[in-house]
Amino acid sequence: MKILLTIYKNEIAPRFDQSSEILIAETEGEKISGNPRIILLPGTSGEDICGLAIKENISLLICGGIEETHYQYLKWKKINVVDGVIGPYEQALNFAVAQNLKPGMILPGASIYWEKS
């Protein structure tokens, strides 16, 4: 399975259409195979990321806030979208591989107060 994550620094980018960096990882069973690729985009465009996801045959797309139009388009193209995710992208990827990632999830590393609470 091929997974695409829109990222900003070490976290999932807050907004899909404002992301200029993406990470593509491939999984085999419940493991990540090979080294994930990070691609820097020339600009920020939701349409460009949609196009790239189709071109790369992505099965699962993980992002932050996404507009309904882009979401429905990706669904129509048979791409599973887990949106509204907040937190470090590595955690998001691990949760996804373990099939525990849910839309709107605030990951443990998202808040500086996580350990305290």
Partner: protein, 484 residues
């Protein structure tokens, strides 16, 4: 002034109860509020923002603020970072995407959070949902107010393409073009499409006032600055704070004032007339002129440094004679506008009339065309505007000049328009006419009344009907012109 303010500030802070329930207070306001620390982590949000974003305040404490509001602010630089580093409050428009994937237009106000000790503690973001305003604005003005500017010609399309670009920046804009080409409309459209649209758009005609009055008009004065200055006057720069100041006829600005304008542009500060305290303003300057400023610079009538400062973005509006595709569009637009306003039943222009209009050179450009149409619609008592309903000054001028609005004969013959604006193609109406001597309006009206009375064999009721007047109005006019 500042000292007084800060003393009052301290006093007010001390007067506030120390155990004030601020959270309840924040929850009672109808704006979204997000408080973040200096590392941009969420301290809390109010109830309105919970509803707007779909997040519960407990679950997002300590999360990066941008992950909660999901705005497009990053595309506008880093306004939150700027607010954290400075003392300045910033207002800008953008949008957010909420939990149900809805994009909401928002006006953001970002203010630094200061402790009473003066130390920076983070920032507050106020989010105002402007969906309704945006809907209303698009209904009234269309996107960015451009719909008031009419034009299909290539040259105007180029202007339309440049408008959103000029609206996006705060750089000075210089609009050039002959008189009557629509410089004011373009300036207003830029302001309306910019982030400053909620703040004032103030227009000052630099040619309308003598130097001393203009200085006071622009920069304001303090009480006692000169004879008659019995109270402080803020001046247009201060009134336009946050918005746009449109200086039209900038070519006519006296040299001493050019220096002062240059200083304001550079320092964003100035002294009001007679004042000893500097005033800071945040104003975007748009200027316009029908003069050749480059030539003025060569002649020493305009400061070169100011010219370059104002000429950052340049928009040149073409004269009507170069907008061949727009002539009919504008003619029909003004015709329909005046027909509606004056509640007339006129169907359109005769072919002969249109030939005259299309062969005229329009030195006054669109303004002149508008005035001609207004005159014709006012004067015409019938269903078709004939050459005699055009201003006499226009008829007195030699027609078909080389500088006239160029268009093909086919365009002139074009007949009925969908919305009722029409060219009457009746052969009777295309008869050549004798150009009458230029006469005053009174004479024209008198002749119209006489013609109507002749046509109706002296029947006043029918003549009044023909003129579209009431019987009493016709009676008054007959008496006024001594036609009894």
């Amino acid at each position: 002034m500042t000292k007084k303010k800060s003393r009052a500030h301290i006093k007010a802070n001390a007067a506030l109860p120390s155990r004030l329930d601020l959270i309840s207070l924040f929850d009672s306001v109808t704006f979204g509020l997000l408080f973040m620390d200096s590392a941009r982590r969420v301290i809390t949000i109010n109830r309105f923002l919970e509803a707007l974003t779909g997040y519960n305040r407990e679950e997002i404490v300590g999360v990066h603020g941008e992950n909660v509001i999901r705005s497009n602010l990053s595309s506008k630089g880093d306004p939150v970072g700027q607010a954290l580093e400075s003392d300045k409050t910033m207002t800008l428009e953008g949008n957010i995407i909420n939990q149900v994937r809805k994009k909401i237009p928002i006006r953001f106000t970002i203010s630094p959070l200061k402790l009473t000790t003066g130390k920076n503690a983070g920032a507050m973001i106020l989010l105002e949902d402007i969906s309704l305003l945006k809907d209303l604005d698009s209904k009234i003005h269309g996107f960015s107010g451009q719909e008031k500017i009419i034009g299909n010609s290539l040259k105007m399309q180029e202007i339309f393409e440049l408008l959103p670009i000029t609206a996006r920046t705060d750089a000075s804009v210089l609009i050039t073009g002959e008189t009557g080409t629509g410089k004011d409309l373009v300036a207003e459209a830029i302001h309306k499409a910019s982030n400053r649209s909620r703040y004032p758009f103030i227009k000052v005609n630099c040619a309308a006032l003598p130097e001393s009055l203009l200085e006071s008009e622009l920069f304001g004065h303090v009480r006692g600055a000169f004879t008659g200055a019995d109270k402080d006057k803020p001046g247009m720069f201060r009134l336009a704070h946050g918005g746009t100041l449109f200086l039209t006829e900038i070519g006519d600005l006296p040299l001493p004032l050019q220096v002062k304008i240059l200083t304001v542009l550079d320092d964003k500060e100035f002294f009001p007339v007679g004042g000893s305290k500097k005033v800071s303003v945040d104003v975007r300057i748009i200027t316009a002129t029908h003069r050749d400023l480059g030539e003025f610079v060569k002649q020493g009538k305009f400061r070169e440094d100011l010219y370059y400062r104002l000429n950052v973005l340049r928009l040149h509006l073409p004269p009507l004679r170069e907008r061949e595709d727009d002539f009919r569009l504008l003619l029909d637009h003004f015709f329909l506008e005046f027909r509606r306003n004056l509640n007339k039943k006129i169907k359109g222009f005769s072919t002969a009339c249109l030939k005259i209009l299309s062969s005229y050179s329009y030195p006054g450009n669109i303004r002149e065309l508008r005035n001609i149409v207004e005159y014709a619609v006012n004067v015409c008592p019938n269903e078709t505007i004939q050459p005699e309903h055009l201003p006499k000054t226009l008829l007195a001028l030699p027609q078909a000049s080389s500088q006239s609005v160029p268009r093909s004969e086919g365009a002139v013959q074009e007949s009925v328009q969908g919305d009722g604006a029409a060219v009457m193609d009746d052969p009777e109406m295309t008869m050549p006419f004798a150009i009458p001597e230029p006469v005053g309006w009174g004479e024209v009206e008198k002749n119209i009344i006489l013609k109507s009375l002749t046509k109706t064999g002296g029947n006043r009721s029918r003549a009044a009907e023909l003129l579209g007047w009431s019987r009493s109005k016709l009676w008054r006019k007959i008496k006024h012109y001594g036609l009894e």
